[in-house]
């Protein structure tokens, strides 16, 4: 068992992971992600991907499902145990 750190968009479908932080690439985006509900310690899992370039993603966040694009998801850092 080892802990693997990556970004949300890199997860395979249905791979459960825990949010560990956010990358600060775009100003304002982190606050938006936080306001809609993403936070450190929350469990996330990719449910579906769009046909064109695998974007957007539908992501389960706790008991919510949120659609976001790959670029947004790449700003969310996650950790999972394999």
């Amino acid at each position: 068992m080892s802990k693997i750190a990556t970004s949300l968009d890199q997860l395979s479908n249905h791979q459960r992971a825990v949010i560990s932080g956010f990358l600060a690439a775009q100003s304002g985006l982190i606050e938006k992600l936080r306001e809609i509900g993403f936070a450190e310690g929350d469990e996330v899992e990719i449910l579906h991907r769009g046909l064109i370039g695998g974007s957007p993603l539908s992501v389960r966040l706790n008991r919510c499902i949120i659609a976001l694009r790959k670029t947004e998801a790449s700003q969310i850092q996650v950790v999972f145990v394999s």
């Binding site: 938006k32 306001e35 064109i52 389960r60 008991r63 659609a67 670029t71």
Partner: protein, 606 residues
């Protein structure tokens, strides 16, 4: 002074449903984020007979106010709107199932510094999902009252309504500690949520199962196309019998009107009013069927999935999947569509969306299309499909394709800018509440009938007068309407429109479907009696060539013929330039499309 209470909370938590239930209001509800884009007020009378003013506001995720509808909500809560008193209290509404994810927004709202009560809504759904919340513990930790409700049900609201007066009287402003930043509030909220959620089973089992089909990367888009196609087929096939009945009724009334003396009155009633109003009433069944489908899609939770499915495509043209929701509501009417664009954060995206919203075929165009298709396109099967339904589908698709092209051009020129974010909550699926469905459907049908009885009635009478006088015996060209029409006729001659069509187009500026009523009147005034009783479609068949009919359809895919939409665009963009740009480009497209259609089809048929 009446106590003002504002409903506040994340989008799609049931604020409007609660508002409607308490005030008897008819605010539009739906199962997707961003249904409400405007403030709405109503009165609520408590069990003890005391009256309160309730304010329903567009949903906000927090205090940053990124889109214009969010900003308006926050300004209302903070009392920053001119001539509007700040609310005395807030009812913060939270979806119980989403407590863990959204509780931090409640801690943020606390900073607005108004007395606050937390309403945990949709308790029934939370219980169904096996979620058990300790309300007393939550109340204790938050420091303000917490009430669990199921807004649509009377007994689901009882806990709130029983305590209403006491709640309002006793709730005070929350004590303000140090202003904490969002990450800290989130950590606090998660801790509180964890301690009050007693039991939690796996979430959204049903929703996730349905999503496996509807969100499938390959099957999902096909299903979306299939649903849209099915709707257009249904609009045609299901409406046939009721339409024939209404048509027969109109013909019967017209026959009766001939018996009236004096003759001019018979003409006014038969050729003016019945021909005008009757020719539009025929399309009521189709309007009802179209709206029934739109309402079901909105209430079920599928709408947000549709936005997800087209986002890949939308991003290619530089738009956001979020824009799909305003665009989809534009199929009903561009006016709410243009207003719904308020929920789009980026101003550039919002403007682009507004500019293409009128290209979505609104329900007012349906009668126009249906009339021409019914008269000129044979009602036969092509493989599995009905040819008339197929043509209708093509017209809708033409609008969509051009909307995509225009958006692409705009995003690479005037509204150029970086790609926007997509962050859209996908709601759990719900079975639409039948009562709400019927009320909303009746409301739409009634609005259509009322329009026929007012605007269309009035234009029919005026147009009858203008086409019937002065009576020189020289036909429509010598009438007042003919004189007016003759001025603009040269513009329309190259695209195959007759003088009668041009005359009908002018009142059609008021609203698109008026053109149908106007043609009913114009042709009734000059037609012979048997033809008139056979209906407008039969009249057109003998009066128009096929290329003219096709050109007319092409014209209406683009024509900016609705003053109300243009006025709304002016208000929402706050710019004459954008409004004139929209009007201009639609007019040019309409003319070019009609010209090309007329010239090409004339040559092909020659």
């Amino acid at each position: 002074m009446t106590i003002r209470i504002a409903l506040v909370g994340a989008p799609n938590t049931g604020k409007t449903t609660l508002f409607n239930a308490l005030t008897g209001g008819r605010g539009k509800t739906g199962n997707y984020p961003g249904v409400t884009v405007e403030k709405r007020t109503g009165n609520y009378t408590s069990n003890n007979g005391k009256t309160y003013e309730l304010i329903d506001l567009p949903g906000v995720y927090g205090l940053s106010g990124r889109s214009s509808d969010e900003r308006v909500s926050l300004q209302h809560l903070r009392g920053e709107i001119e001539d509007e008193r700040q609310p005395d209290m807030m009812l913060a509404v939270l979806d119980a199932s989403r407590l863990q994810t959204h509780l931090h927004s409640i801690l943020q709202f606390k900073q607005i510094d108004l007395p606050m009560v937390l309403i945990l809504n949709m308790m029934d759904m939370a219980q169904r999902d096996g979620l058990e919340i300790d309300l007393a513990a939550l109340e204790k930790q938050l420091g303000f009252p917490v009430i669990g409700v199921t807004a649509p049900r009377k007994n689901g609201r009882q806990a709130l309504e029983d305590k209403w007066d006491t709640l309002v009287k006793t709730t005070v402003k929350p004590t303000q500690g140090r202003q904490l930043d969002l990450p800290t509030l989130q950590a606090q909220a998660r801790k509180i949520a964890k301690s009050v959620i007693k039991q939690s089973s796996a979430s959204h089992d049903l929703t996730q199962s349905i999503d496996r089909v509807t969100m499938h990367p390959v099957f999902g888009p096909f299903l979306l196309m299939g649903i849209m196609f099915f709707i257009f087929q249904a609009v045609y096939t299901w409406s046939a019998i009721p339409m024939e009945l209404i048509e027969a009724g109109v013909g019967f009334l017209q026959g009766g009107a001939r018996q009236i003396q004096p003759e001019w009155l018979a003409s006014l009633i038969g050729d003016g009013i019945i021909a005008g109003v009757g020719s539009i009433m025929v399309f009521l069944p189709q309007i009802v069927i179209l709206f029934a489908f739109i309402l079901l899609l909105e209430a079920s939770g599928y709408m947000a999935r549709a936005a997800f499915l087209v986002d890949g495509l939308m991003s290619k043209i530089g738009l956001n999947g979020r824009a799909l929701i305003p665009l989809l509501s534009s199929f009903a009417c561009a006016i709410p569509g243009v207003m719904a664009a308020r929920s789009i954060e980026s101003e550039r995206d919002r403007l682009t969306t507004i500019m293409i919203a009128p290209l979505m075929t609104c329900s007012a165009r349906l009668p126009v299309y249906a009339l021409i298709i019914g008269a000129f396109i044979p009602n036969q099967s092509v493989g599995l499909f009905n040819l008339q339904g197929l043509v209708l589908f093509t017209l809708y698709m033409t609008g969509i394709v051009f909307a995509i092209l225009i958006a692409f051009v705009l995003r690479h020129t005037v509204t150029k800018g970086p790609a926007q974010h997509l962050l859209l909550e996908l709601p759990g699926y719900m079975i639409p509440k039948m009562v709400d469905f019927w009320i909303a459907l009746f409301g739409r049908a009634w609005a259509f009938v009322r329009k026929a009885g007012t605007i269309i009635f009035a234009t029919s009478v005026i147009l009858w007068g203008l086409t019937s006088y002065p009576q020189t015996g020289g036909g429509i060209r010598d009438s007042y309407a003919g004189t007016i029409g003759a001025w603009i006729e040269p513009i329309f001659r190259p695209i195959g429109f007759s003088l009668e069509t041009v005359i009908a187009l002018v009142p059609g500026m008021a609203a698109r479907e008026v053109v149908v009523a106007a043609m009913g009147t114009v042709y009734a005034v000059q037609g012979n009696e048997q033809q008139v009783e056979m209906g407008l479609a039969a009249l057109l068949q003998s009066a128009w060539s096929l290329p003219s009919a096709l050109a007319f359809l092409a014209w209406y895919v683009f024509a900016p013929q609705c003053f109300a939409t243009l006025a709304t665009v002016r208000r929402e963009t706050n710019s004459w330039n954008w409004t004139l740009f929209l009007t201009g480009y639609l007019f040019v497209l309409a003319w070019v499309a009609a010209f090309a259609t007329f010239q090409i089809s004339t040559r092909m048929l020659a």
